[in-house]
């Protein structure tokens, strides 16, 4: 009787590929294998906020007002200044390829959780959410006011890297946006973030 080792080798390789971070961790360690990627992502987001706050110092202040027109003017001015300051920004600057892999992994785990929780999370994201045709997938583009904002389930938010106030995760179809709610601007996006 002959046994082929090929299936075992393939399976072994797959296992190793799926858990590289875990394999490098010392036994019993509580270190988050994604800590480096989270730190890198957070640093980039914070740099964005710093840039925004720096360049919008001269824009009309977004303050509490009885005149909604002033809110619109402040938003647009802010967006315009941010666009000017990061004119060469492109898709993937913040959602780098390595970060994207981490996001897909985390999101997949949240959307495939047992006991119906994963399915519920997926349904909530899709519930009354915008269609991809309604939102421009373009860095520095305005988020269209006519399009709704997707609901992001709390446990998904708790699992993703924490963001500064006014920077949010939003889904459009299967795609994930990094959204500046203050300037109403798309900061970056990643396609096919969720299955």
């Amino acid at each position: 009787m002959k046994y082929s080792l090929r299936p075992y080798i393939v399976a072994g390789c797959l296992l190793m590929a799926c858990a590289p971070a875990a394999a490098q961790m010392p036994k019993g360690s509580n270190v988050n294998p994604d800590a480096g990627l989270v730190a890198e992502f957070t640093k980039k987001v914070n740099a964005y906020v710093k840039l925004r706050n720096g360049v919008t110092g001269f824009a009309p202040d977004l303050k509490r007002t009885e005149k909604p027109g002033e809110i619109a003017v402040a938003e647009k001015s802010m967006a315009q200044m941010v666009r000017g300051a990061r004119a060469d920004a492109k898709r993937g600057d913040i959602f780098t390829p390595a970060t994207q892999a981490m996001f897909r992994r985390v999101l997949l785990s949240q959307l495939t959780k047992g006991g119906g929780e994963g399915a519920d999370n997926k349904a909530i994201i899709k519930d009354d959410a915008p269609e991809p045709k309604d939102v421009p997938f373009k860095v520095n583009a305005d988020y269209p006011k006519e399009a709704p904002l997707s609901t992001v389930p709390p446990d998904v938010l708790l699992a993703l890297p924490k963001l500064p106030e006014d920077v949010q995760y939003r889904f459009v179809g299967k795609h994930l946006l990094l959204y500046d709610a203050k300037a109403n601007l798309i900061i970056d996006f990643m396609l096919n973030a969720i299955p």
């Binding site: 303050k63 007002t65 959410a129 006011k145 446990d155 924490k162």
Partner: protein, 333 residues
Amino acid sequence: MWTSRRSLAVITLAAALSASAFAQDLTLPNKPTGTLKFAVIGDSGTGDSNQYKLAKVFTDIRQRFPYEFVLMMGDNMYGGESARDFQKKFETPYKAVLDQGVKFYASLGNHDSTNQKMYKPFNMNGERFYTFKPKDGIRFFALDSNYMDRPQLQWFEKELAASGSDWKIVFFHHPIYSSGGAHGSDTALRDQLEPLFLKYGVDVVMAGHEHFYERLKPQKGIHYFTSGGAGKVRKGDVGGEFTEKAFDQGFHFMILEIDGDQMHFQVVSDQSKTVDSGIIARRRVEDKPAPSQPAAPPAKPVPPKDKPTTTTAKPAPPSTAKPPAPTAKPAAP
């Protein structure tokens, strides 16, 4: 001469009919002093004729039930959010009550831009989530259910813990219990919020999102209302295991009155008809059940009165009603 007399008679008759229609339906205690009167609208911001029609009923009823403020369940602005949109979808339909000094307290829906928090007439104090205490012993919490992140959850728990034995009324856009076919219960939100509601003795939870009215069977002792039909209606979408009472055949708003340990509620349609009413009794924190214990008894229904009355429906001059001033600033998350 004859024409003017006839006109006068017609006007008098019309006014009397209009007044009696409301008086017939008004079932709240409507006490002249000592109670807290407020209203609820949800999913209102379409700017279309349906919103305006209901807003007219909403305005008229204030002459007989002088609600002091209004809670907005989100989707305050469908579509654009230019100055013209705010005018068409909020300022014009509710102009009469705004002019009378009635305050609106908004929560954000999935159709609302976060920057609505900066619009002063929504009284959000520049925050996505906030709390206010319009009267001693009664506290409201507005949440942003569209984006329930860690800072918001932490803030909410801190504020709940500090609120003592007050009536605790929480409102936000997405219902955590719902019989709606199109949306249904937001179970992920429920997983995060319900333990806090139970731990800190929340009494009543109000939501919108579903374009109908639903009073739910109390869940673990907490009373839930969904009121998302002030601008849109989804007919034939409601009814199921959670439903105590529902209405999806027209537009609606709610009026409520807290009188000591009782909350009276009434739901009014765009046809000026009462579609639900009842009384909720507040329980003491120590009486509130643990999650595993049976639910509290349902709200006691109050059928609409058959005869017009003048004692329970006293018109009050709108200008005398004072809007509540927030007594607590929202804490920074």
